[in-house]
């Protein structure tokens, strides 16, 4: 039954996402030589926000923004198969390929922009402007890497790409992997590309006006979306997974790398991050694309 399949995907992504986000806070704390919160701290935060009142309303679009974001996150998750061999936990992936996933990943930021736009909060507007500016730069190397993978495999199906890896794509096409990883660090909102919600600069940015249940919804969708992105990266570059343990292991290693990378670097300014993403990773991706195409012939 596809309904149970989707429910299982949703619940596992929800739980693992919050666990990872708690681990992120804890591990970052260890990097900063402090004890840090418990692993479940993010879960506590979200439940608390679900029990709080909302302090302000800006009309129906304001309420719709987080809902569109959550829809985008959950739909992205449903179109990414967890395991390439098994039928279960494949969700809706038989009805849509990598193009659909890339399209759905755009839905969240756009919904957020519309919801935030009506608030009129200058910090939120600044945050979303930074976000959309970075989005275009961030997608360039990632799309080139993904297009290269699609042309190598002659398929846009995620499960096919995941299965068609004698060794991992990350080892076989290191340049494409490096380029995609730069984008991935930016997608996960890690330093040095964390210009969107930059604390002390734009006061939590796009989330500035949201409170109570809508903030909790934003936190939940961000956890689910993070896990969906991790699974996508594992499928595309790290050989996919056959079972839950393998999936958790691989996503966790990837996640740990992203956290460590983020903990090491300070924040770029917005123009710096756009400049960097458009120049360095894009150049690496183009070279990788050319090499992969030449090697394939």
């Amino acid at each position: 039954m596809i309904v149970f399949d989707l429910l299982g995907m949703f619940l596992s992504a929800y739980m693992v996402g919050f666990l990872y986000y708690g681990l992120y806070r804890n591990i970052t704390a260890r990097f900063q030589r402090r004890i840090g919160p418990t692993v479940l701290q993010s879960f506590y935060d979200s439940i608390k926000f679900f029990s709080k009142e909302e302090s302000i309303s800006h009309g129906w679009m304001f309420y719709l923004g987080p809902v569109i974001m959550a829809t985008g996150a959950v739909m992205t998750l449903f179109f990414i198969p967890f395991f390439y061999k098994s039928e279960s936990f494949s969700g809706l992936s038989q009805y849509g390929n990598l193009f659909v996933v890339l399209y759905l990943m755009m839905l969240g930021p756009l919904g957020n922009a519309m919801g935030v736009g009506v608030t009129g909060n200058p910090f939120a507007a600044m945050g979303i402007t930074r976000g959309l500016t970075r989005l275009f730069a961030m997608e360039l190397p990632f799309y080139i890497a993904v297009i290269a993978l699609m042309s190598i495999n002659h398929s846009a199906d995620i499960a096919t790409i995941a299965a068609n890896q004698p060794t991992m794509n990350a080892i076989e096409y290191p340049l494409l992997f490096i380029a995609a990883m730069f984008s991935f660090v930016a997608m996960m909102g890690q330093s040095p590309f964390d210009v969107v919600g930059a604390p002390v600069e734009v006061y939590s940015g796009p989330a500035a006006e949201f409170s109570g249940k809508f903030l909790a919804l934003l936190m939940s969708q961000s956890s689910i979306m993070s896990f969906a992105k991790l699974v996508l990266m594992v499928n595309l570059f790290i050989g996919g997974a056959e079972g839950f343990l393998e999936l958790l292991g691989k996503t966790f290693v990837l996640f740990l790398f992203v956290i460590a990378f983020g903990a090491m670097y300070g924040r770029f300014k917005t123009p710096q991050s756009v400049d960097f993403l458009v120049k360095v990773p894009t150049a690496i991706a183009v070279v990788g694309l050319v090499l992969a195409t030449l090697g394939g012939q």
Binding site: A29, P37, Q41, S51, I56, V200, Y203, S204
Partner: protein, 205 residues
């Protein structure tokens, strides 16, 4: 002011008599989550603000207790009034406090918030914070060190878990009392009207 004090005495007595035994298990659970997750507004008044950065950063690490900073009042649970309040600051504090979402708590630091402290005869600071807004927990000292602030937070967490920290209800129920005291020092314009796009209109962009 005498009438105000009498009324406040009444409020305190009512608090003692109030029955808290009707809390359901859902309330208990929610209070536990509220206790475990406290977002503190990044806002400092007076000298006590200097004690807050060490409390929240690596040295004293309040995040291990589930206490972390929040950038906007919409997302904050606790506002720390950290020291003396001039009339000018009080206006901002009240405005910020009213923007916070329920349930919200107030932590007051230092002697200045209790009775004016060393500013007791100043011409432009308030003396007793509780006349103008409700306070859940006082941390005394001049200034309290980060250890004391953490101690205050732990006591506040206990009160939240027991459902006793309900100053936001007190503020709503006795709004006239607080408003009268606020207007006595700030005049009729305590806070501007809360409009969604206030910055487009008078005095804005």
């Amino acid at each position: 002011m005498e009438e105000g004090f009498l009324k406040e005495q009444q409020i305190m007595e009512n608090d003692l008599n109030s029955d808290t035994s009707h809390k359901s298990s859902v309330d208990f659970l929610m209070n536990w989550f509220r206790k475990r997750s406290i977002f503190v507004l990044a806002y400092g008044t007076g000298c006590g603000a200097i004690e807050m950065p060490p409390t929240f950063t690596s040295r004293y690490d309040a995040e291990r207790l589930g206490i972390r900073g929040a950038a906007t009042p919409r997302q904050a649970d606790v506002i720390i009034v950290s020291g003396y309040c001039s009339y000018k600051t009080l206006r901002r504090i009240i405005r910020t406090y009213e923007q916070m979402a329920n349930p919200k708590y107030v932590l007051a630091l230092g002697s200045c918030t209790v009775n004016g402290g060393m500013y007791w005869d100043s011409y432009n600071t308030i003396k007793k914070l509780e006349d103008y807004m409700p306070v859940d927990m006082y941390v005394n000292g001049c200034m309290p060190r980060p250890e004391s602030i953490l101690e205050g937070f732990i006591e506040l967490q206990k009160e939240i878990a027991e459902g006793k920290a309900s100053s936001w209800q007190k503020y709503e129920e006795n709004y006239e009392f607080y408003r009268k005291n606020q207007e006595a020092v700030l005049g009729k314009t305590v806070a501007p009207a809360y409009d969604a796009d206030w910055y487009l209109y008078d005095g804005g962009l």
